[in-house]
Every structure is written in C-alpha cells, then in structure tokens.
Amino acid sequence: MHSKQDKKPSIIWFQGLTCNGNTHSFLNLENLKNLLDKFEILSHPSLPSTQNFNTVLSCTLECDIFIFEGAYDPLMKRNDTLVSKIVEYYAKSTKHIIALGSCASFGGLFKASAPDRNSGLLFNEQEKSGPLLKYESKVINISGCPIHPEWLAYTLHMIAKGREVEINKLHRPIELYSTLAHHGCTRNEYFEWKVDADDFGEKEGCLYYKQGCRAPMTHSSCNKILWNEVSSKTRVGTPCFGCTEPDFPRQNLFATKTNMSIPEDVPIGIAKRSYLTMAGIAKTFHIKRLEGKLIDYKTAD
C-alpha cells in the first residue's frame, strides 16, 4: 500500500546546454522548502535527489514532471549518452514537460551561438519546429534569462494541485506572461510624458527612448512579481532586455534602436502612427516635477 508521501508528483530536472542560471535563480525561491515538500525530486543538479544521475541516463525511471533547463543540442552527450535519446524517453513517458528558461523555450543564447544546430524543445525562436513537436500538448515554456523562481513555483503548484496551466500560443502560462514588463514599472509616469532617463541607475526618467528598454514589448511579470520580492531591472535603472521573448538575445541591449530618432519598435498592439502622434503631443508639455531629481522637487505647500 502506498503512503501519502509516495503520491507526491516526481520531478526530474535535466540540463542541456546551460549556464545553470535557472537552477541558481530557483534556489532563491523564498519558500523553497515548502514547495519541495510537495514533490519527490528524483534528480536535480543542485538539490538532494533520490536517484543518481546514471540511473536517470539509463532511461528506466518514470517521472510526472520532466524539467529541461538549457538549449537542446542534438549532438550533445551527458556521460556518453545522447541528450536527444534522454529527452525523447522522458518526453514520451512523463505527464508534463517544462522547458525552463529562454534557451529551453526558444533556443536563447545557445541558439544564437549555433543557430543551425541548437534550439528550444518545442520552438526555434518563434517557429514551432523543435524536437518535441509530437509531445507539444505536454510542453509548458517558462521563458526568461533567468526565470523568476516564482514563475516555476506557480507552475509546479498548479500541477501538484491537478489544475490545468493555461498557456498561450508560445506555450507560456497566461497567468505569468499576459502582462508586459512595462506593467507595474515605477517609471510609467516618465513614459507617459516622454521624459528620458539621462543615465543608467537613476531613479528618474524612462529607459525606453535611449537606454534600450524593451519592457513595453516584452511579455513577463517582472514588475508585478518582483525579484527578491523588492526589485526589478527597470526599478533600479537598467533597461529590460526582453529576455522572455523568442528573439532574445538581441544586439546592443543598452541602446534603443531608432530610425531618425524614432523608436524602431513601439509598444505592443499600438500602431506606430498612433504612438508617434501621442508621443509628440505628450512631449510638448514640460512638467517641472518630472524634469529634475524627485527629492529636489518642492511642492506648493
């Protein structure tokens, strides 16, 4: 007879071509222990596991959730076993596949280095042509470089509770990726009135016009579910690099691509003509409070 303990969903966390960034990020989860108590970790690169790595490679185990971190390289081997063989085995036998991070989701950095060879599990950037096409109904992409630990925690909790994780066209959970990184940014008032940031690391100004911020074009919840519970890139004055999107990494991350001073990309869903009309009008007004240091501004009283 199985005890309650035995019914915990089991996880194999397997790494392809990776920098380990998602593993590191996940270890920062505030309530990591609470989450881990709900699962049986068969194998993980950093956490105590019930199975050794060679057993995982022998393709004799069964797991409920197969987490793949890193890009997929069809020629890569782990201890003389082709990663392609391992991925195929677990993809077939598991209930849920989580492509963890932008490399596993879309190819990311490692695809950029070998575009004809490496890919994500299900996607090659935007194109759904990865090796797990026949198992696509099982695949959940959690993109990000790295992922926010809460994004994975949310997904695992949903699975543990037997609830469906609703996903969008890019197989990302709607709950986490329907918002933009722009939503919740503390600089939104500067964006509205088109006041540029003069430099990186400042509290004032919007980073979209010069510093390369991709937040209005990037699906993520970075400014809604804060990093380390307190911050985000844009809050500390660093542009969003659009790291959750299939076209990551782009070139010149710290500079906005402009054509004759006009941003090449405008916020998602807004026609460029409409955006330019609105921006031009907003820029006409000079709002003293937004032009200097916030702490220097004296209110009327």
Binding site: M260, K272, L276, G280, F285
Partner: protein, 197 residues
C-alpha cells in the same frame, strides 16, 4: 435647395479666413471682415468660433491635417524613398500653386505670430498630423536602408525648411521660374542630402 449643414458652414469660414489672414495679415483682418466674406452676421460667426484666436488655431490644424493626409497617401505607396521625396515636393509645390493661402498661412501667420498660438497650440499640438506623417516617412526610409540614420530634426529641417524657403521666394515673386520648374532638382538635392552614405 439643400440646406447648408453646420459643418459645411464651418469649413466655409475656415476657407474664407485662410484667404483673408494670408492676404491681409492676421491682426488687420477682423471678424466682421470674415463674416462679410462668408455672408453671415458677426453674431452668427460666434456660433462657430468663440474668438479670432480660436479660429487661428483651428486653421493650423486644418492645414496640418490636410498636409498629413496628403503625405500619408504617399507614405502608403510601395515606392522607393527617392520617389516619395519627389511626390512630397510635388504635392507641396502644387498646393503652394493652387492653394497658396494654405502655405502662406503656415509661413506668415503660424510661424510669425507665435503669441497667438502659445496657449493650446504649442509644440506639436496643432501640427501633429503633419509632423507625425513626416516621422513615418523618415522612419520608413531608414528601415528600407535608403536614408541615412540621423537626428529627426536635422532631417526634417532640411526637408521642410528647404520647401518652405522656396515657397517663400515664390510668394515674394523672386523666383525667375514657376515652382513646377524646380521640382526635379529640389527633390534630387533633398534625396542626395538624406540618402544612405
């Protein structure tokens, strides 16, 4: 006989005022002058515009939207930027020829009487339709790899300043040839100045 709608009446005031302002000047033209030209009473005029300043702002928006619409038609064509430049120059010069009051108003009233437009028409507020369309033109030119990527106002000033200057010279009867005669060479000069290096 069909009754003239309020909107048609409004447009007829705009057209009459454009002519008077550009011919006589903004300050010399009075509301009774405009009302007389349209054939309405001064009292009725105020049903359409609350003041001469309000009318002045309406006029610049009318011109900006007219220009914006014309440039948008050119922008929407799938033709090389060099040809678009020629078409914009042609459109602008034709307008200066056929409806000189439009450009005259822009140059001699809007740009010369800034105090009238200070409140409610500052910056891009009343010329947004026109400037936005020029932004779309430049953005597309760079995206196609046909224009040199530079500061917007440097390029805008070169383009529109040049055209405005030529129309001004034309209005002053200094140009020895009709505007039509200059279209080709001016378009070429603008393209040469802005093209990818």
């Amino acid at each position: 006989m069909a009754r003239i709608t309020k909107q048609e009446r409004r447009v007829s005031i705009i057209l009459a005022a454009l002519k008077l302002f550009s011919e006589k000047g903004f300050y010399i033209t009075t509301i009774p002058d405009i009302a007389k030209k349209v054939g309405m009473s001064v009292g009725n005029f105020y049903n359409y515009f609350t003041s001469k300043d309000a009318l002045a702002k309406e006029l610049i928006m009318y011109i900006s939207e007219y220009l914006g619409k014309s440039i948008r038609e050119i922008n929407d064509k799938d033709i090389p930027t060099e040809e678009k430049i020629y078409e914009i120059v042609s459109m602008y010069f034709n307008m200066a020829d056929e409806r000189p009051e439009m450009i005259e108003y822009f140059l001699r009233v809007y740009l010369s009487n800034r105090e009238v437009f200070e409140d409610g028409c500052e910056g891009m507020l009343c010329v947004s339709a026109f400037v936005t369309e020029m932004m779309m033109f430049f953005d597309n030119g760079v995206e196609r790899g046909e224009l040199h990527n530079q500061d917007f106002f440097s390029a805008f000033g070169l383009f529109m300043g040049y055209l405005g200057g030529m129309v001004f010279l034309f209005g002053e009867k200094i140009l020895p040839e009709p505007l039509e005669w200059y279209k080709e060479s001016i378009s070429q000069n603008i393209y040469n100045a802005l093209k990818t290096r």
